[in-house]
Symmetry: C2
Subunit: 219 residues, 2 copies
């Protein structure tokens, strides 16, 4: 089956590094579904009555040389334990499709855009379908979710060193949501190492000491 992008995602996050590993983990993170060729504003009629949206998208930043394998190491399990690929949401799967439920913030049909919150999509991600979230069919509670029973939760306390300019409150909040998740690979633990995150064109430099993440510079 041949599928074509209907839209692309716009996010302040330009790389996989720092991008949340599931939807809703950074609930205040803004992003935009930007429709492309074939779009007509009428396609969104009625969507304003829904609070959440499903996005079916493509893992476009997969390493093309990394084959999909039967078992993967979910970051949730510290990168040591293996699980069957179909028991995970790993990007490396036979058909590299992603699935995310995001909050609808604003629908601008005339401009061919939907502003959303809480997505786990990198800037530029191709989108193949969107669907309204139907609570009666899609929401299941009080059920078992295997090794991912709980939301990962903020692992790190985030502090900002004195900056040469004020960091706006929304930016501070968005960075806290993202950085408290600990974007470092599971096997990293070097308090001297300085990491860089590309957020909305800014270079955010930070290091991690114990369970505290220190933002050193935003340029």
């Amino acid at each position: 089956m041949q599928i074509e992008p209907i839209a692309f995602f716009r996010s302040p996050l330009k790389e996989k590094f720092g991008t949340p590993r599931q939807a809703g983990i950074a609930p205040g993170l803004p992003g935009t579904v930007e429709f492309c060729k074939g779009f007509e504003p009428a396609m969104l009629d009625g969507l304003e009555g829904f609070d959440y949206l499903w996005i079916i998208w493509g893992f476009s930043l997969n390493n093309p040389n990394a084959a999909s394998s039967a078992k993967v190491r979910p970051p949730r399990l510290g990168g040591n334990e293996k699980m069957g690929v179909y028991a995970t949401r790993s990007p490396y799967r036979p058909n590299p499709l992603g699935l995310s439920s995001v909050r609808i913030h604003a629908v601008d049909a005339a401009a061919g855009r939907i502003e959303v919150l809480g997505a786990d999509l990198v800037d530029g991600t191709p989108i193949f379908d969107i669907k309204p979230y139907l609570e009666y069919a899609d929401a299941h509670t009080g059920i078992r979710s295997g090794f991912a029973a709980e939301a990962p939760g903020g692992k790190l306390r985030v502090v900002f060193e004195d900056m040469p300019f004020a960091v706006s409150e929304p930016l501070r909040r968005q960075l806290c949501e993202i950085l408290s998740q600990d974007p470092r690979p599971a096997y990293h633990d070097d308090p001297e190492r300085i990491y860089g995150l590309n957020f909305d064109g800014r270079n955010v430099r930070f290091k991690v000491e114990g369970d505290t993440l220190i933002v050193l510079e935003i340029s």
Copy 2:
């Protein structure tokens, strides 16, 4: 992007007619995800810890001559009112992908099968991906779901005429779940008309008088 089926669905429902219009509407309806070429049993390791599964599938029974259009008539609105295609779960959409959450009944990795309950997939439907349902990321409650705020609910009372042989309780219950939804097209209202439903190789004949559906024969 080219995607290939990883599995096919097996259901007692062989046609669109009578197939539930969303997952979970017929919660007792059994079905099977049967993996195909490329499957390895290890791919399902860990899935037994989850209660629900996402299925991303293809609307393979779409009429090939019916173009996807910007607005569609959801059966929920009686077939009269139009909605933007992206505000609906209509099969006729730019990329004809379906999305369903189903209950996991049994995982048989060695046989390459997952028994599920409550699917809205017709027998033979190609499946492109399955993912574990993560309650913390996927379940949203107390939200607005537009024109589909409530589950459709059983519309018809189902009665069985005397049959030459006993109808087993599970079969009776499954047929009740399906038939109470009123499988007739929205514009049909002819108490004389006899309909046939293919259920697991049986021909189920019924008619509808007012809000009562009468099963006449199962052969």
